[in-house]
């Protein structure tokens, strides 16, 4: 029997008022509010508190390659094979290991990365696969398992920290299935306080400045009045939703103070040049900046650009070199800052793409054999785990499903993969179900 986690803060089923509130206020990034913005340094009046906030706990940056990248054009090329596509492969810093010729920078630092070439999952539709690969388990309605980011926020985050602990950076407001997923309950049974704060579009936070005619005092009075009525409502109705609602207001207050952190223009131009010019790279830089300054989990996405049912090669020729450069710069920066030991970098989508080219110059969804990459935080660098057959059609050795992946991630973080959630009125849930074992070869 493993140790017990915190009880559910909001374990109500889908459709409950809690979920409607989460959806509207957390996931749409609607940050209506008002306050004058102090400088970020002004957040911390006591140096000791600033040090606490910036202490080196476990962090994670998830580069979410939504839509699903092609393993053939990234980590598992098959040059010269009928399925290989037009791009070649290049040697890497690991003897005998080749990756796509579109990734020369990653090739030079492959000894810092951990590659899994044998992912094998069983969902081939976006929504279900995103759900699976971000939560680690298929749905079991009406219970909603939290995303990895929410688990991170709960385990390693600091709720009193004004800096948001779980951040989703995604400028694309649409995105088909990803849009639908973004509207789902991310924090699940952990409760709204562990849900993500989402920012999109321009990099600054909108709607967090006080209206010109409102003073600080008036704003404080309004907040006191809102707080009073909320408490009264809780007393009268015992609605868990109100607790979530209050959590949101607390979060907004924190965001108003943390807004300068989201100003990319305040970062050195040399950094923006290294990561940019594309949105995905700039958001990755922002993720690094947030992690450095107190966030716990930052998920970077950019709509679903990897879903190349048409123009696979024509699109990957642009997306992969950008990804290659971003990974290189991010790992270099984290290494230079001595942050890599405590910062997990996950680079993955929801599945891979078909070995076979379709008539539209595209590759379709393929969960049978695909690749992902990890770096830092307890993962053994320079490991290429698993393999596919000569045409990339099936996993040839060491298949990895989402459970073993999540078990390995939790183990690397120092969390017991099999710990139970003690949720009143719920069945027994584990962080990772079915006793899936971590992959020892991937752990440092």
């Amino acid at each position: 029997m493993h140790s017990v986690e915190h009880p559910c803060a909001s374990g109500s089923p889908p459709g409950h008022i809690d979920h409607r509130l989460h959806r509207r206020l957390f996931l749409q990034g609607s940050l209506a509010g008002a306050a004058s913005i102090a400088s970020f340094q002004g957040l911390f009046t006591l140096p000791a508190h600033a040090e606490t906030v910036k202490q080196q706990g476990k962090k994670c940056i998830l580069l979410w390659l939504c839509g699903a990248p092609s393993q053939f054009e990234t980590w598992d090329p098959k040059p010269g094979r009928p399925t290989g596509g037009p791009f070649g492969s290049i040697p890497t810093s690991l003897p005998g290991v080749h990756i796509s010729s579109l990734m020369p920078k990653c090739a030079s630092i492959l000894d810092k990365l951990t590659i899994v070439r044998s992912m094998k999952t069983d969902q081939n539709e976006h929504f279900q696969a995103i759900d699976l690969l971000t939560r680690g388990e298929p749905p079991r309605p009406p219970f909603t398992r939290p995303l990895l980011g929410s688990v991170f926020a709960q385990q390693f985050g600091q709720l009193e920290n004004p800096v948001p602990q779980f951040v989703l950076l995604d400028p694309c407001p649409e995105g088909n299935e990803f849009k639908s997923f973004k509207a789902s309950n991310w924090a699940g049974w952990l409760g709204a306080e562990y849900g993500p704060v989402r920012f999109g579009g321009p990099y600054k936070i909108d709607h967090v400045s006080l209206p010109e005619k409102m003073s600080e005092l008036e704003h404080a009075d309004r907040e006191a009045l809102r707080s009073f009525f909320s408490k009264k409502f809780v007393n009268d109705h015992q609605e868990a939703a109100v607790k979530s609602y209050n959590t949101i207001f607390e979060r907004v207050k924190g965001l108003m103070k943390a807004a300068p952190l989201f100003d990319l223009n305040a970062l050195p131009e040399s950094d923006r040049l290294r990561y940019g010019p594309g949105t995905f790279g700039l958001h990755t830089l922002l993720a690094r900046h947030l992690i450095e300054n107190g966030s716990t989990f930052v998920m970077v996405a950019n709509g679903m650009p990897w879903d190349c049912h048409v123009f696979n090669h024509e699109t990957h020729q642009m997306l992969v070199p950008e990804l290659d450069r971003i990974i290189f710069e991010l790992l270099q920066d984290l290494s230079d800052r001595s942050m890599l030991d405590d910062t997990l970098v996950l680079i993955m989508g929801e599945f891979g793409r078909t070995p076979h080219l379709n008539e539209a110059r595209g590759r379709d969804h393929y969960p049978n054999a695909w690749s992902m990459a990890v770096a830092g935080c307890g993962f053994k660098p320079g490991v290429v785990y698993g393999a596919t057959d000569e045409n990339g059609i099936d996993v040839a050795e060491n298949p990895v499903d989402q459970r073993r992946l999540f078990a390995t991630i939790y183990q690397a973080l120092g969390l017991d993969p099999h710990q139970t959630y003690n949720l009143p009125g719920f069945p027994t849930f584990h962080r990772v179900e079915k006793n899936a074992t971590p992959i020892a070869e991937l752990l440092a």
Partner: protein, 369 residues
């Protein structure tokens, strides 16, 4: 006038066929395929039964994208490895035939290569789409993206810079002008003699910037040709897509008078005549009375349409069941050849089934319709 098409031959290739050319007597075809260069001895026009096997006579390090035959014995090919190769053909054909020229002409793909009518020049276009700004506009290429080469030795005659990726190129029937077009809908015309850029304009009809899935550019112009009198330029591709990953844009061609300043669009495919899908091949009939546009069918009735050169309306169509990459008419205009590729099938009985095809159709003109 209406056209009727009657298929008289279908010849498979192991992998996708991206371009082909024919000997003048149409007894032999040469194909640029994903896995190399093939020759195919074609049966006579009245033989609809025989299915000759193609022979691989060479290959590049990546997909062979274009092929051109000069003076019946010089076979040029270019590829996604950025190389240009020349093979001298001697009878009987050997397999393989080593190239006498194997030159790296681009750092990235040769998207397309064409031979001038006078056989003096080759034009090839390149350019990798890399993010150049926050909204993923293409970055200017580090190398010239349009090259005019001597067909005698492969040396550069002129080279020009057009924003990547430059996906198609044409030389006019008089061998005086080169035209190229790109991902962003830019069309440029260059004078061969002087090497000057004489026209550059943009059509926004072919390029999508995804509002649903992707904040990047996708699509662009995939085929370009001059009219027989060289005065007009026709371009083809796919209209704007709501979902940039669905390939659901309109089948689209546009015609421009390129000598005007600025160039002017004077005609385009009629919405009633077209369905959905990427169009990537254009060819004029030898009479100049009509032209054909082909590509992939996503929705609608045809993937090869024949259009009256005067009215621009559709006068004939074919539904081939494959993505058509190249269209060529016989010199007498009675036959049209279509090359292309189906989706790649899965392994069957331990082998990858064929998925490239060359098809032959008889054309019947019905002037009473």
């Amino acid at each position: 006038m209406k056209l009727e098409l009657n298929k008289t031959g279908r010849y498979p290739f192991p992998m996708g066929l991206l371009d082909f050319t024919l000997q003048a007597d149409e007894k032999r075809a040469f194909a640029a395929c994903m896995d190399g260069i093939y020759s195919l001895d074609l049966p006579p026009r009245d033989n609809n039964r025989d299915k000759p096997d193609p022979h691989r006579i060479g290959h590049h390090q990546s997909y062979t994208s274009s092929i051109a035959l000069a003076t019946e014995s010089k076979l040029f090919s270019s590829a996604y490895d950025g190389t240009l190769q020349l093979r001298i053909l001697n009878e009987p054909l050997q397999s393989p035939i080593e190239p006498t020229l194997n030159e790296r002409i681009h750092q990235f793909w040769s998207w397309q290569m064409v031979l001038s009518a006078d056989q003096r020049y080759l034009a090839s276009v390149t350019g990798q789409y890399l993010a150049g700004s926050e909204d993923y506009s293409p970055r200017v290429s580090d190398e010239p993206t349009v090259k005019l080469l001597s067909a005698s030795d492969g040396q550069v005659v002129h080279q020009w810079q057009l924003l990547p990726s430059v996906q198609c190129v044409a030389i006019d029937p008089q061998s005086k002008w080169v035209a190229a077009a790109n991902l962003m809908g830019d069309i440029a015309v260059y004078e061969i003699e002087s090497g000057k850029e004489v026209a550059l304009w943009r059509t926004g009809s072919f390029t999508s910037w995804g509002i649903i899935k992707s904040h990047c550019y996708i699509g662009g112009i995939f085929a370009i040709t001059f009219s027989p009198d060289s005065e007009s330029i026709y371009v083809a591709g796919m209209g704007d897509m709501r979902d940039p990953m669905a390939g659901n844009g309109k089948q689209l061609w546009q015609r421009f008078t390129w000598r005007k300043t600025p160039p002017e669009k004077i005609q385009e495919s009629h919405p009633d005549d077209t369905g959905e899908g990427l169009m990537e091949a254009l060819a004029f009939h030898p009479t100049g009375k009509y032209f054909a546009m082909g590509g992939r069918l996503r929705g609608g009735n045809w993937n090869v349409g024949f259009f009256d050169a005067t009215t621009g309306r559709i006068i004939g169509q074919a539904k081939t069941g494959m993505r058509v990459t190249t269209i060529r008419f016989s010199s007498d205009g009675q036959i049209v050849y279509l090359g292309g590729t189906q989706g790649q099938p899965g392994i069957k009985d331990g082998k990858f089934p064929n998925f490239g095809y060359l098809e032959r159709f008889n054309i019947t003109e019905n002037n009473e319709a």
